[in-house]
């Protein structure tokens, strides 16, 4: 207890230099917590919005469905199994039917995917209710990216051509009833959404689907013949690995920042050991053992981290609180690069993150503080008293 008091006294006694170190170190805290929080927020948001509009609580895929092979779509549809029909009736699942088609904006053919979805579904956060508007035309929803690449806008009619299950050509006009701004490009690029019933009628695939999206947190994982269950771990693998790379890239930054702060601590430790040899001599003469001395100096050094934590809380706290609440604004079209991000990122600062960061910095600081003190073990009190040092 005594050495703790002593350490605090010494540290505060050093004045300006202590505070400079503390400030430098506090940057490490704030930077680590801020950036990790930002990444965590970003990743969770990306995951959350992808789950919300695309994956739900996992999907059943028709066994032949391959999202990367449009050729597979001709065969990858089947009647919905009874077990699933029950779920759909209870609003616990939604089915999607996918087919190839072409649209002809401006007289040029563009190959697209036509996706049929129940306008009244509640599983995915796609504003499918717009598709209820069926006044003598087929309503279609398209995403912002699709609108851009096809030149279509809300209210436009466009010719769409497809083949039904038997191969008969069919074509009709669809009306773009709404352009949805989605963060998730997978429900946007190269596709249009139309009402499921209409789609089944158009393709003569009554009661059929290509994939079934389960409600979030659904416990349903039964094996269904002809269908394969894809859980969220599978569906989100891409997104998660992207997140890992990103935060791995960012961690180099705080590693370097922490290194720099540690350089300052190390410097300070060497300096104080060098300057305070007389003091050490005196303390030893008074009966303090070398190991206690080492503890004292190490403690002084690591105390920087404690003070820095307070300092960081002082100015970083409000910043973190503000950002977590208000979010971090992004320019409108950041998502044109394909990241599923909204207009604002809400960083997530968990207790685990904050405590973990403090422990990490404290440990590293303690180690760095300890290293220079090993010299003390070679110190002879007589030499120290005379100001001689190794």
């Amino acid at each position: 207890m005594l050495i703790i008091k002593l350490a605090i006294k010494n540290l505060l006694g050093a004045g300006l230099r202590t505070w400079l170190n503390v400030i430098a170190l506090s940057f490490s805290y704030v930077a680590i917590i801020f950036m990790q929080g930002l990444y965590a927020g970003m990743n969770n948001q990306m995951e959350a919005s992808t789950i919300k509009v695309q994956y739900g609580g996992g999907q059943y895929w028709h066994e032949l469905y391959d999202p990367y092979d449009p050729l597979s779509l001709d065969d990858s549809h089947a009647k919905i199994p009874n077990e699933i029909s029950g779920l759909i009736k209870n609003n616990d699942a939604a089915s999607i039917l996918i087919n190839q088609g072409s649209i002809y904006p401006n007289g040029r053919m563009q190959n697209i995917l036509i996706k049929g979805i129940d306008p009244n579904q509640k599983i995915l956060a796609i504003p499918t209710h717009f598709l209820n508007n069926q006044n003598g035309f087929i309503p279609a929803l398209i995403g912002g990216r699709m609108a851009k690449s096809s030149g279509l806008k809300k209210g436009d009619f466009v010719t769409i051509r497809w083949r039904d299950a038997k191969g008969t050509f069919d074509a009709d006009e669809v009306k773009v009833v709404e352009v949805i701004n989605t963060e998730v490009s997978e429900i946007d690029n190269g596709q249009i959404w139309i009402p499921l019933d209409k789609m089944r009628e158009m393709t003569v695939m009554p009661g059929e689907a290509t994939l079934i999206v389960l409600k979030q947190n659904s416990q349903f994982t039964k094996n269904l013949s002809g269908w394969e269950f894809k859980n969220l771990d599978f569906l989100l693998a891409d997104l998660r690995s992207l997140a890992t790379t990103k935060s791995a890239g960012a961690s180099i930054f705080y590693f370097v920042l922490l290194f720099l702060a540690m350089l300052a601590i190390f410097d300070t430790q060497i300096l104080s050991i060098f300057r305070r040899r007389k003091e050490m001599g005196t303390l030893m003469a008074l009966g303090m053992t070398r190991s206690t001395l080492i503890k004292l100096f190490t403690l002084e050094g690591s105390m920087h981290a404690v003070l820095a934590a307070f300092a960081a809380m002082l100015y970083g706290g409000p910043l973190v609180w503000y950002l977590a609440k208000v979010g971090y604004g992004l320019p409108a079209s950041t998502d044109s690069f394909g990241f599923a991000l909204g207009d604002r990122i809400y960083p997530e600062f968990t207790a685990l993150l904050i405590i973990g960061t403090i422990l990490l910095v404290l440990t590293v600081t303690s180690i760095v503080s300890y290293l220079p003190t090993r010299r003390i073990t070679k110190l002879k009190p007589t030499d120290a008293l005379r100001g001689k040092f190794i």
Binding site: P70, M109, D170, A171, E173
Partner: protein, 244 residues
């Protein structure tokens, strides 16, 4: 290419005293369209956004299902061959010496950049097999009196759910045709500009095939030479002849 031939090859039929039924008309049209065999040289004039170009081909055809086409011009396409046996289509290019089965979405591609797709070539040419017919009017096309006949599909695996054809009352040759989607939307039009008589049959020698969903003027087709009822040896209509 085959489609073109079917459209073009129409037999001249003797005059009839009474107005025949729509089914009878279509049967006669079919009878005139399909020959035992024929060898034809034709041109396709494809108009694109950057001007037009002409592709020339020679086609051997037997019955309504099998045909063999060899491209003669332009130089780039010369030697490219295409074989259709039933519902399978192969293509061969001399530069690669490869025979490739065209399937899946490649069938949706246009033929040589024209408004015709390979799928269109795979159509059964016999209208009576696929459609119920009904006379819906009488008009004049190319100064000839015609019946306007509506064709609605008998089966559900037919590419075009509905067609309208305008049949020359004397010659039983189609002078105009419209292909519709199931929804009733017009997809393609065929307009015949000229017909000539070969070996006693009336054959369209110039027509325009147009995909109406696409911008542009459509693809023009021209028949330069046709020999009907020629003996076509079996080896021509075989995969081996692609590499010949």
């Amino acid at each position: 290419m085959k489609k073109l031939i079917f459209i073009m090859v129409i037999l001249f039929a003797g005059a009839l005293i009474a107005q025949p039924s729509a089914d009878e008309i279509i049967k006669k049209v079919d009878a005139n369209t399909v020959t035992d065999s024929q060898i034809a040289i034709s041109k396709m004039i494809i108009k694109g956004r950057r001007g037009s170009r002409t592709v020339e081909a020679k086609t051997w055809q037997r019955g309504s299902n099998d045909s063999f086409t060899e491209y003669l011009a332009p130089a780039r396409e010369k030697g490219t061959k295409m074989l259709k046996l039933g519902d399978q289509l192969w293509t061969y290019s001399p530069s690669t010496d490869r025979t490739i089965l065209i399937s899946g979405h490649m069938l949706r591609q246009s033929v040589m950049g024209s408004d015709l797709s390979y799928e269109d070539m795979m159509e059964d040419p016999l209208l009576q097999n696929m459609y119920n017919s009904k006379i819906i009017g009488e008009e004049k096309i190319l100064d000839r009196p015609v019946w306007a006949i509506e064709l609605t599909s008998k089966k559900d695996d037919i590419s075009y759910d509905r067609r309208k054809v305008w049949v020359d009352k004397d010659r039983y040759i189609i002078l105009k045709e419209e292909l519709y989607a199931k929804s009733g939307k017009l997809l393609k039009t065929i307009d015949i500009h000229e017909i000539k008589k070969f070996d006693g049959r009336w054959v369209a020698t110039s027509l325009t095939y147009k995909d109406v969903l696409k911008d542009g003027d459509g693809t023009q087709m021209q028949l330069d030479e046709i020999k009907l009822n020629q003996r076509i040896p079996d080896y021509i209509l075989s995969k081996a002849s692609l590499r010949r």
